[in-house]
């Protein structure tokens, strides 16, 4: 019989044991009687020879080898009973722990989903990304460089160890079926889906023969877009759609998990059918390359192969590929800058959990001290020290695990709202849910915290000097217990100070950056992208007419005061960073200083409310064929020309043509990177150039990027529908998308700060509350134990004031010790915040002082209640108690 079977059939085993021993006794007795004993005497003798039946049974139970489980069971039942006897204590402890573990579990769930989980494709560790690399490329500014389409094809053909697939970000207007809509289009190679091993939701992936010029035009729908635009109708496969005036046949639907680059595409088409010129140019590198290591192949091998390919290409095409190589890196989920926010929050919840543990520990300790007598009695009755410690720890483990279970419940409820509340959208949000990893961690954390807060009381529970303990009853505070209590209170205060100071600094930062001048007038300003009618895109002249038409028509919409077109909008995603130089001998690209380039129409300055400092802004005369002109902001003026007069000077901007560009005006700086982040941004300087001077060859690409900004006299969102109707265009397929107000954009740039402040604020309040409960509980307990002593003092003439002073002094000692340690820790935390959160300044002495004093005052208030109670002790009855 295995041990668990023996355990399972414990009752049966007990019965059999009983029966076996009874049989033995009866048999023996009968034999003795047969030998002539009288029955009474025979029974006595049989019993005597066997030994005490209970002891024999105990020994037999020990022989079963399941003893520890039975003890555990007993301890568990005992723990439940003792906890049940103190419902107040149990409820407070459970709630505290549930909040602590709940918050930790939520944070870990998010971190697990966003940062730790591998990509949702089979064998994710075999997936790699391939980047181009040139020495002149400024990775700090631009990020990793993608790959030219022709280079991709060469790499793909030459590599033995990699299965490669490419993807191109694009956009298009879907004009049929249904309402015209601008869609997120990805052009992919036929290998792209197979490389990721993405199983199609319906239909099939692209065939190799479809991924080349002249192949049958086919398209695949993204799952969400299929649900929204096609109402999830599976019969769409085989039907036709019109994308930028070209007819495609739908062959499949991608699964919902397909989110390359953490964004679900709306429509996929084969890249090989795209005849755009820039795809045939090795200088342009628009293709995102994902690859999979073939069985047995190593990363270094793949890297070596591609290095060789790069070398050959450099010899073959020295113009474009001279210094270009290719780098292979493991493919990782792209989660942007949430990493630091998440770890910061995990740190904060860990502090809350620690405070919760300390709080419960001090409660438990107080209880353990009052249970000293109970423990002493048990030791006298034969309980070993180990056995008592084990029992204490079982009790705290029960507390910890039940608190943890409640916490997981809280987390399960709270995780949805938390993700929804995340500013902007949480990357990989679809991966965030409670799973076994999280549950395991939650159990571990609860057990660990149970151990943590149970250890101190457990270790001090069965102290020696039993006699003294038994005689003194429960009326003395042993020195070590008072010290331990002080340590608990001090650490709670210290932990709470860290959270309070962090919250204070975040609040101060938010106040400060909210009042900063964004450089534009955000009030009553609407921003929306416009996708021109696909029919106009082929002809540059038509494009120019279309934009002029848009501005004219929009200006006629009631409520619209002025309107302009612009390629990159401040405080929205997207920017164009270009190198510039002040003389004609321009150095290599990676040595150039950078500035943000923005193409605009003449009314832009007026619409945005940007201030003109010197010179003039653009007018209708600044168009193609005239001298190229630019307007710079005061940051660039300072950066490029020092304090000198900038108007009339010239700049060389290699990416915009041979130049030079004449500076005709200086305008105020706009916080392009957002209110908080702009000060720390790598590239802050800005210049504007006329949209009318964009070359014909680039016009189509630029048109795809353009937005309009609309100054309104009424609530900006109320003009959206009239604007939409007015700008539909002659063919009805000109659409507005990404409609925002400037106020929304500005506010969104502070989303992270606001979110952090809210959470840190909640955590800090929780910490403050827990610390106050902790200090109140400890003092109330200490006072109650000192009733006789205080009675004596009062009998000897101490006044109520003296007694209050006595208690408050004691509490102040603990508080100041905690505040000292906490202040040091808070300085470190503040440093961390400065590094991780945009806009935070390292020194905020006033905030610091304010937050520390808030805590000290609150803690003193909490200690005042027990102090007052102590001062009201009646000396006579106190002495009588002794």
């Amino acid at each position: 019989m295995t041990w668990w079977k023996r355990l399972w059939r414990r009752r049966e085993m007990e019965e059999q044991l009983e029966k076996e021993l009874r049989f033995h006794l009866e048999q023996h007795t009968a034999e003795l009687i047969a030998q002539g004993c009288n029955p009474e005497e025979a029974r006595r003798q049989a019993r005597l020879e066997l030994g005490g039946p209970e002891q024999v049974k105990e020994k037999c139970r020990d022989a079963r080898g399941t003893r520890w489980v039975e003890d555990l069971w007993q301890d568990l039942r005992y723990a439940r009973r003792t906890l049940g006897k103190n419902p107040g204590f149990t409820a407070v402890a459970l709630l505290t722990l549930a909040l602590g573990t709940g918050a930790t579990t939520v944070m870990f769930t998010v971190i697990n989903g966003v940062l730790l989980k591998p990509l949702p494709y089979p064998e994710p560790d075999r997936l790699v990304a391939v980047h181009s690399h040139t020495d002149t490329w400024n990775t700090a500014v631009y990020g990793e460089q993608n790959v030219a389409y022709l280079d991709f094809l060469d790499c793909q053909r030459e590599s033995r160890s990699l299965e490669m697939g490419g993807m191109l970000f694009n956009g298009a207007t879907l004009s049929s079926p249904g309402k015209p809509e601008y869609v997120d289009l990805r052009e992919i190679t036929s290998e792209f889906l197979p490389v990721l091993r993405v199983p199609m939701f319906r239909g099939r992936a692209f065939l190799p023969e479809e991924d080349r010029a002249g192949g049958a035009p086919v398209a695949i729908l993204g799952y969400s877009f299929w649900k929204s635009h096609f109402e999830g109708n599976e019969a769409v496969i085989g039907t036709q759609i019109v994308l930028d005036d070209k007819v495609y046949t739908l062959v499949g639907i991608a699964p919902a998990t397909f989110r390359p680059g953490d964004q679900e595409p709306d429509v996929l088409t084969p890249i090989g059918q795209d005849t755009a010129k820039y795809l045939q140019n090795r200088r342009a590198h628009p293709v995102t390359v994902f690859a999979r290591l073939r069985t047995g192949a190593m990363l270094a091998q793949a890297q070596a192969e591609l290095a060789l390919v790069g070398h050959h290409l450099a010899e073959q095409y020295p113009d474009t590929n001279a210094a270009r190589s290719f780098a292979v890196q493991p493919l990782r989920p792209d989660v942007g800058d949430v990493r630091s926010t998440l770890w910061l929050l995990l740190g904060a919840v860990t502090l809350v959990l620690l405070i919760a543990c300390v709080n419960v520990a001090s409660l438990l300790l107080a209880r353990a001290v009052s249970r000293e007598r109970e423990f002493a009695v048990r030791v006298v009755l034969g309980a070993g020290r180990r056995r008592l410690i084990r029992q204490c720890l079982t009790e705290s483990a029960v507390l910890g695990l039940s608190g943890g279970a409640l916490g997981v419940l809280l987390a399960a409820i709270g995780i949805g709202p938390f993700v929804k509340f995340w500013p902007g959208s949480l990357p990989r949000a679809e991966e965030v849910h409670l799973d076994w990893h999280v549950l395991l961690l939650a159990i571990l954390v609860s057990l660990l915290s149970g151990f943590l807060f149970g250890l101190a009381p457990a270790l001090r529970a069965p102290v020696g000097q039993l006699e003294q303990t038994l005689r003194a009853g429960a009326r003395s505070v042993v020195g070590s217990s008072r010290r331990l209590h002080s340590v608990f209170v001090a650490s709670e205060i210290a932990l709470a100070i860290v959270l309070l100071v962090a919250a204070g600094i975040l609040g101060r930062t938010l106040l400060r950056v909210s009042s900063l001048d964004p450089g534009v007038n955000t009030h009553n300003l609407l921003v929306t992208r416009v996708a021109l009618s696909p029919g106009t895109l082929a002809d540059p002249a038509k494009i120019r007419v279309a934009w002029k038409d848009i501005l004219d028509r929009a200006g006629r919409v009631p409520g619209v005061e002025s309107i302009a077109a612009v390629d990159t909008v401040p405080m929205r995603e997207g920017n164009n960073q270009l190198g510039y130089w002040t003389t004609a001998d321009v150095p290599p690209e990676n040595q150039l200083p950078f500035a943000l380039a923005t193409s605009v129409t003449p009314d832009y300055l007026k619409v945005m409310g940007i201030s003109l400092r010197e010179g003039r802004f653009f007018n209708d005369e600044d168009r193609i064929g005239r001298d190229p002109v630019i307007v710079i902001d005061d940051v660039l003026a300072q950066q490029a020309f020092g304090g000198q007069e900038a108007v009339g000077k010239r700049l060389w901007i290699p990416d915009m043509g041979p130049g030079p560009f004449q500076v005709i005006g200086v305008v105020g700086h706009v916080r392009h990177w957002g209110l908080a982040s702009d000060d720390q941004a790598l590239v802050r300087a800005q210049f504007y150039y006329p949209f009318a001077q964009v070359e014909d060859a680039l016009l189509r690409r630029w048109s795809e990027l353009m937005s309009i900004t609309v100054r309104t006299g009424i609530a900006p969102l109320s003009v959206v529908e009239p604007l939409r109707r007015e700008l539909r265009g002659a063919t009805g397929d000109q659409v507005l998308y990404e409609v925002r107000t400037m106020e929304q954009l500005a506010s969104a740039t502070l989303g992270t700060q606001r979110f952090l402040l809210l959470l840190f604020g909640i955590f800090a309040c929780l910490a403050l509350l827990l610390a106050c409960i902790g200090i109140y509980g400890v003092l109330a307990y200490l006072v109650s134990r000192r009733v006789p002593e205080i009675g004596v003092r009062m009998a000897l003439g101490a006044t109520a004031r003296d007694v209050i002073g006595l208690v408050l002094r004691e509490s102040l000692e603990m508080i100041s010790a905690g505040a000292g340690v906490g202040a040091i820790a808070a300085v470190v935390a503040a440093r961390l915040l400065t590094r991780l959160v945009a806009g935070v300044r390292s020194t905020e002495p006033w905030t610091f002082a304010l937050m520390v004093s808030v805590l000290v005052v609150a803690a003193l208030l909490a200690s005042f209640i027990p102090a007052r109670r102590a001062s009201r002790i009646d000396p006579i009855s106190a002495l009588r108690q002794e």
Binding site: M1, R6, Q16, K19, E20, L21, F23, H24, E26, Q27, H28, E49, L50, G51, G52, Q55, V56, K59, C60, D62, A63, R64, G65
Partner: protein, 114 residues
Amino acid sequence: MQTKSDLPQGTLDLLMLKIVALGPVHGYAIAQRLQQVTRDVVQVPQGSLYPALHRLENRGLLAADWKETETGREAKFYRLTRKGRTQLETEAASWQRLSEAVGLILRMAEGGAE
């Protein structure tokens, strides 16, 4: 409570295995037989008999069934398992060697060691 028997360590197990090897037998009969065999030599407290039996059962050396005795009462009868028999044989053999060796030394003539 007395926990040690005066038998050398491990001998009780060997004796019980041997007694059970003679045929299925219940606890009381084992105690009787043990007493008969060792009455004058060693003292086996009956209290340590049952824990020892249960331990052997848990180790799989003995198996037990509930059967009727000749007097018609139900009792727990122990019998030797295959594993128990192997154990008995090896232990008996090693005991034999040990006691022969000890006996040899003890039988040596006083002057023989010189």
